[in-house]
């Protein structure tokens, strides 16, 4: 079978532009539609400002070269890896209960990573050069090289897996899905390595981020699964979905308790005995409100809500998943910002700058617009996909 014939066998719904606007005009739907539209307009605006002024349009500086867009990129690729893990539960590992969400989660992992790429394209100064020299002159010691290359391979596998899922070829979907998952996990831990390899930054250096990224990806994947299924079923879940979500909620409680354990020990080892460049930074982080948003929205609230009924109160978990994603955003933002908090010159053995100060950063309007634009793009792609493809599990599952 030629590729052309193969593509012709992919089932999809013929839709027109009119079908895209034929959604139920409830206030919530209209609000989401307007939000998405305005985010997309902002995307265009932000990109226009960036094309005009380059990195000067951003709040980044010599001492804080990575800003909001890096955080948002991480946010999207974490989401993608997370959805890939959730999707693989049924489809690769054969847990029957989770089969019903596989197709939707795998599709979600594709749209989130595309949105991430769309955002990072306006942070990397020369994306075209990157594509060329990534191949011609690969920097094999660079975690960014590995992360980018592995994510490229991962995306390919995810698309192929999705096609097999659409064609209901579960055997092939499982094989391809397995490799997709492996490449996703490798790529994602390499993203942790981008920070973990920074010997110059004791707060980020070490094994913590590569492992923590995988854990938080799984957590993020479950949050998003609650959100997309909540919208899909308008919170009136069928018995099958109820079983699936309750199972995921219990896994979530386990993952969050591991996360609390991880983060507590990271903080304790950071602070213990006051190692300069690490202890002072950790104390500074503990004093920042953005860290506490992360703690409350990702750890405390979900833990309390899930444990109250052992994952049976699905509506409540839907809502805390929404707020959880806000927490996850702050988690990414904090990670990027915290790694750069400490001025490096202060770390020199002979100091030659005035009293230590923290490096300030606040995202510019262009950065915020492009970031929201990424979210808009993600919602739009997901919406189009949900019209174009049958994302529900087929009846015989």
């Amino acid at each position: 079978m030629s590729i052309k014939e193969f593509i012709a066998t992919i089932p999809y719904n013929r839709i027109s532009l009119r079908d895209l606007f034929a959604f139920e005009k409830s206030p919530v739907n209209i609000l989401i539609a307007l939000m998405t539209l305005s985010f997309l307009v902002m995307f265009a605006l932000g990109v226009a400002i960036y094309l005009e002024h380059g990195h000067h349009a951003y709040g980044v500086s010599r001492q804080h070269p990575w800003g909001l867009l890096i955080a948002v990129y991480i946010f999207f690729v974490v989401s993608s890896t997370g959805l890939c893990i959730v999707g693989s539960l049924g489809d690769v590992f054969g847990f029957k209960d989770y089969m019903a969400v596989s197709k939707r989660a795998i599709f979600g992992s594709i749209v989130t990573i595309i949105s991430g790429f769309a955002v990072i394209a306006f942070e990397i100064g020369h994306p075209v050069t990157m594509v060329i020299y990534n191949v011609l002159s690969p920097g094999l010691t660079s975690a960014i090289w590995w992360m980018g290359t592995l994510y490229g391979i991962y995306l390919t596998f995810m698309v192929v897996e999705f096609v097999f899922l659409l064609r209901n070829d579960m055997r092939m979907a499982r094989y391809v899905g397995f490799f997709g998952l492996m490449f996703g996990l490798l790529a994602h831990s390499n993203l942790g390595g981008v920070f973990g390899f920074l010997n110059a930054r004791p707060i980020a250096n070490g094994v913590f981020y590569p492992t923590y990224f995988i854990l938080t990806a799984f957590i993020t994947g479950i949050f998003i699964t609650f959100i997309i299924l909540g919208f899909r079923y308008k919170l009136n879940f069928t018995e099958e979905i109820k079983k699936l979500l309750t199972g995921l909620a219990k896994i979530q409680a386990l993952l969050i308790s591991i996360l609390i354990f991880f983060v507590s020990w990271k903080m304790l080892t950071d602070i213990y005995d006051g190692l300069p460049g690490r202890a002072d930074v950790a104390l500074h982080i503990l004093g920042s409100w953005t860290f506490w948003i992360e703690v409350v929205l990702v750890m405390i609230v979900p833990m309390v809500v899930i444990l109250r009924n052992m994952g049976e109160n699905l509506k409540a978990i839907f809502w805390i998943s929404l707020s959880g994603m806000i927490g996850i955003f702050f988690m990414r933002y904090n990670l990027v910002h915290d790694a750069q908090l400490k001025p490096l010159q202060m770390l020199k053995i002979k100091e030659y700058q005035l009293a230590p100060e923290w490096i300030h950063y606040f995202p510019s309007a262009a950065e915020i617009m492009i970031s929201l634009g990424g979210l808009g793009l993600c919602i739009l792609l997901y919406f189009i996909g949900s019209k174009l493809f049958n994302l529900d599990a087929d009846a015989h599952h």
């Binding site: 010599r62 020369h126 020299y133 690969p138 920074l198 010159q345 053995i349």
Partner: protein, 187 residues
């Protein structure tokens, strides 16, 4: 083939900043403190008046340390940052994708974005300006009125820098990071 390095007799520095100006002039660096390849830092004066510690108020010229194991080189995804045949860490403007990873990874805050070329740049010991013309000094060294800077080849035992490093004590910055800097501060 050489192994270029620089020794700094930093206690002679009088903070005239002639080197900063000479570097900008020679290498056509844009104005502004966040665009500098080299700079002179000030120690903070310690103590309370009148018991001020005058030894704390030192001037410390600094710049890219020309690490022998350079973090900026290992993190670069496209080999835009490379060691040239003289051991100088340089940037190939063709290949730089402006990902800024080197800026985050350099322990010495030695890199900056050059708004003319739109790449991340750094000190390269005047390799593409003076050395390529056959000169044997860097601009900062040639201009320094108190002869703080000694630039030369570590592989040549007769070079001034090799001789100085044999007889004077020195330290390097953040040696615990294993970057093996080739900037030596003479004490």
């Amino acid at each position: 083939m050489a192994r270029y390095a620089m020794a700094l007799d930093y206690k002679n520095c009088i903070d005239c900043k002639a080197c900063e100006v000479a570097c900008k002039e020679e290498n056509g660096i844009l104005l502004g403190a966040d665009k500098q390849r080299i700079w002179v830092g000030h120690g903070e004066i310690k103590g309370e008046y009148p018991f001020l510690d005058i030894t704390s108020n030192t001037f410390m010229p600094s710049q890219c340390q020309q690490c022998e194991t350079a973090p900026c080189e290992s993190v670069c995804p496209t080999h835009a940052t490379y060691y040239d045949e003289n051991g100088v860490v340089r940037v190939d403007s063709e290949k730089c994708i402006l990902c800024s990873y080197c800026m985050v990874a350099c322990p010495y805050d030695a890199r900056y974005v050059d708004d003319r070329t739109h790449i991340v740049d750094k000190c390269n010991f005047c390799s593409d300006t003076r050395l390529v013309r056959g000169e044997t000094t860097t601009a900062c060294q040639a201009t320094c009125p108190t002869k703080v800077r000694i630039f030369g080849d570590l592989d040549d035992p007769e070079s001034e820098i090799s001789q100085v490093l044999r007889v004077r004590e020195y330290f390097t910055l953040k040696p615990h990071l294993g970057t093996n800097p080739k900037l030596f501060y003479l004490t």
